[in-house]
Each structure stands twice: as C-alpha cells, then as structure tokens.
Symmetry: C2
DNA sequence: AAGAAGCATTATGTATACATTTCGCTTCTA
DNA sequence: TAGAAGCGAAATGTATACATAATGCTTCTT
C-alpha cells in the first residue's frame, strides 16, 4: 500500500484538505465506542484495528493515545481496551460532570450575552408549529444548543475542553440507557430553569439548578442502565 | 541505531521493566516544559526534538500527543508548540481548578477516613523539631501531601485524572511566579483550615475554604507573574 | 525595485521492517 | 493427571524509508 500518504492535496487554487488517517481512525473508533459497536472491555489490538479501519498501525497508535487521554480507552499494561463502564464509573463520571457543569453555568451567568439566552429561552418555550409533527429529537437538539451556549458564554478554554471529554463519555452512557419520555419532559423543564437563571445573571441559582438537573439525570440513568 | 528496542527485559526470575522510549520522551519534555527550559511558544519540531532527546520520531510523536491532551502542548495546524501561558490562560486555568478542587474537597469531606486527616492535621501543626533547621520546602511538601490525601479520600477516578492534568499546568505557573514567604505562611494556614473542614466531615465548608484558598492563590500568582 | 512564480529544502504523515517480549500450546516429567 | 518447561506464533515498541505538502529562497518579469 504505497503512495497513499500525505495529509493534503493542492489542486489548482483550491486546497482540498484530505483528513489525516489518524483523524479518520480517531473519529471512527470514537463513534464506534460511543455507539457500543465496540463494547466496554473490547480489546483493541493494533494490527487487527489497523486492518479493520484500513490504515497502518502508526495512525491507529495515535488515535488510541488520544482516546486514552479522553478516557474512552483504557490502557492496562501493554494492551488497549475500550474503557469499562460500570455503575461506579457512571457515578464518578457524574461527580466530575457536576464539578464542570456547575462551574460552567456559574461563569455563563456571569458573562452571558442576555440576548443570546433570551433567544434560547424563546426556542425552549416554542412548541411545534401548528400542523407540524412533534420531532422526538428536539429535546436532544435543544440540550446541545444549551451546551453550546453555555460553553460560549462561560468563555473558559480549559473548562470547555474538559467538558468536551466528559460529553464524549456521556454520549456513550446515554446511548445505552433507555430514554424515558417522562424523564425527557422533565429534563427539558430543568433545562429551561437553567436557561432562565443564566439569562437573568443569577450565578448561584444557575449552578444550583444545574446541580439539581444532574442529580435527577444520574438517578434516571442509573435506573435505566442495564449494567 | 538497531536493536535498542523492546519494552522490557527478563533476567532470571526478576523482571526489569525497561521504560519505554515514549515514556522517557514524555517525562523529559514534560519536565522541561514545567521548568521553563522549553518556554511557552517554543516550536517542537519532531526531528529536532527526536535528536535532542535521543530517540526516533515515533516515540516523540506519542509523547507530543499525550502532552497535547494534557494541555502542556498546543498543536496549531501541523506544528506542535509549548502551550502559551498568558494571564488569561492562568485565570482560566484557575477557573477549571476551582471547579475540580472544590468538588474534590467536598467529596473528600464526605468519604474521608477521619484518622487520616487527624494525622495530617498533626503534621501541619507540628513545627520543626527543637534545634532542627527550618525546611523551606516543607510547605510544598505538606501541600502535596494534602493533595494526595484529598485524591485518596475523594476516591473519584475521573476527577482525579482531571486534577492531575491541572496540577501539571500549575507546576509550570508556580515555577515562574515568585514565591513570597508571607503568602506561603498564609497558604499554609488556609490549607490547615481545609484539612480541618475535611476532617470534621463538613462538605460545605471544605469546598468554601478551598474556594477561598484558590482565590487568594490566584491573586498572589497574578501579582508575582511577570507576564 | 517590487511582486510573483518556480524550485529546492525540510517537515510532517504514513507505511513498514525488525527486535524483543509475551502468550498459548505442546510436551515432558514426577 | 497435574504442573512445569520449552517452543513457536503473534503482538508491541521502535526505527526508518518514502510520499507529499509547506516553507523559504532565488529568479524572472513588469
């Protein structure tokens, strides 16, 4: 397999940025771990993984290193495995998440652009247009909109990158725990309360409402988690 | 340079674990960054770094990937540089640190072994033995003892690993900001208050005392930081 | 003289070769 | 039959070869 390497290709005046093989490997493995195609504990042999993904061992190694730093892969001795995920792991994940999200909410309340959160609040309050079908994915969309707005408002680089790692883990947890429409509704209400607190610049209540939301969320996850 | 590879060597019934070249590279680069031998913004070319450290590019690449995940190296496009460190970076680092340390203190107060923190408190209270010289490094030693005790008591894996990354960054900041003996004394008093709070199981006060300590610490760092 | 174009050097990204260890299987022995 | 020892296959760790892109310098043109 010669001559397939090189990170980018220039064609005329346009530059077509070919993604690096290590990025492809990282993205694919990450998605497969989140989607439980690769289950917790699965052994990630370099050679086997390289052949499966279709690149050589070098970019696989880099991808595995990155995933290990992100917490999705654990390296026990010489071998890399998909990070285990027990109830204890989930609980500890939420302990980190609580630390990060409450701080992010507090900073967001301190620095937010009120316009931005007024708009977001309107989106939360707006139901489906008349005659339009209810989009079951809308709560998830709104939730990620909120995450993005908080990240932007909090404007704290290190906090943000720590949160990104945690969200990757959360995606994996959420994929496996069954979503409950009753819980989904209540979660949306909790999100609205957080948006309101940030909008009004109430740091304390923003962090408290976030803490409450996370406790409820953890309880729901643990309840619906078949582990 | 052939035949120098291989991760471990078995000799008789003892196994002498040879460290991997990537670990050596990681450790050396990390220390050099923390000690400001490699200053913020320094370009870390793979070839040059490999020759300097004395290994090939492969382990250097892994070390750089790890350092990037840890936040000590920034990768802007294709090139890796030692992570910049402005006042803004320091402030944002403390925003993350506040989130993590207050949570760790809270969890530690919840789960601590009272004996452990009673012992630690005694160590804090004990002055130098009669006739013994005052050890100027003692405050730093006590501080890291406290960190270890909190990590152990909090018993939360993800939180701990996030804290480890932050502490690496902090070591770099601390190395550059001048230590002030007046501040050092007050910091020790603040530490004692944290130990007391955790010892008595007072979660709220443990996190509050930690927050206060971090604010004071940040103020001191910013004051003595020649950036 | 200033700017653009082209070429050479150098760096990164990837693949692969090779040394060594580890792990599993077989076989031998008590 | 159980356990240990030895052998072989496979995997990891490292070095290096090679392809391509980026960078800087020279040169040509207007």
């Amino acid at each position: 397999m010669r001559g397939v390497n090189g990170p980018a290709r220039a064609t005329g005046r346009f530059r077509i940025a070919l993604v690096r093989a290590s990025d492809v490997a990282y993205g694919q493995l990450r998605q497969e771990i989140i989607d439980w195609v690769l289950k917790p504990g699965t052994l990630l042999g370099e050679i086997e993984t390289a052949e499966r993904v279709g690149v050589s061992r070098t970019p696989i190694r880099e991808a595995l290193t990155r995933l290990a730093a992100e917490g999705l892969v654990t390296t026990s001795g010489r071998t890399a495995i998909v990070a285990p995920l027990s109830r204890k792991h989930v609980i500890e994940l939420f302990e980190l998440r609580e630390a990060l999200e409450t701080q992010a909410a507090r900073l967001a309340a301190r620095r937010r652009d009120p316009e931005r959160f007024a708009t977001l609040l309107a989106e939360f309050r707006r139901g489906p247009d008349p005659g339009e079908a209810v989009d079951p994915r809308r709560p998830y969309f709104l939730s990620s909109e909120l995450d993005a707005a908080i990240d932007e408002a909090a404007d704290s680089q290190y906090l943000r990158s720590a949160l990104e790692d945690v969200r990757g883990q959360m995606a994996r947890v959420r994929f496996y725990s069954r979503s409950n429409s009753e819980r989904l509704h209540r979660a949306t209400l909790e999100h609205m309360q957080i948006v309101e607190a940030i909008h009004s610049g109430d740091e304390l209540f923003a962090s408290q409402a976030t803490a409450v939301h996370l406790r409820n969320s953890l309880a729901n996850v643990l309840e619906s988690l078949p582990l």
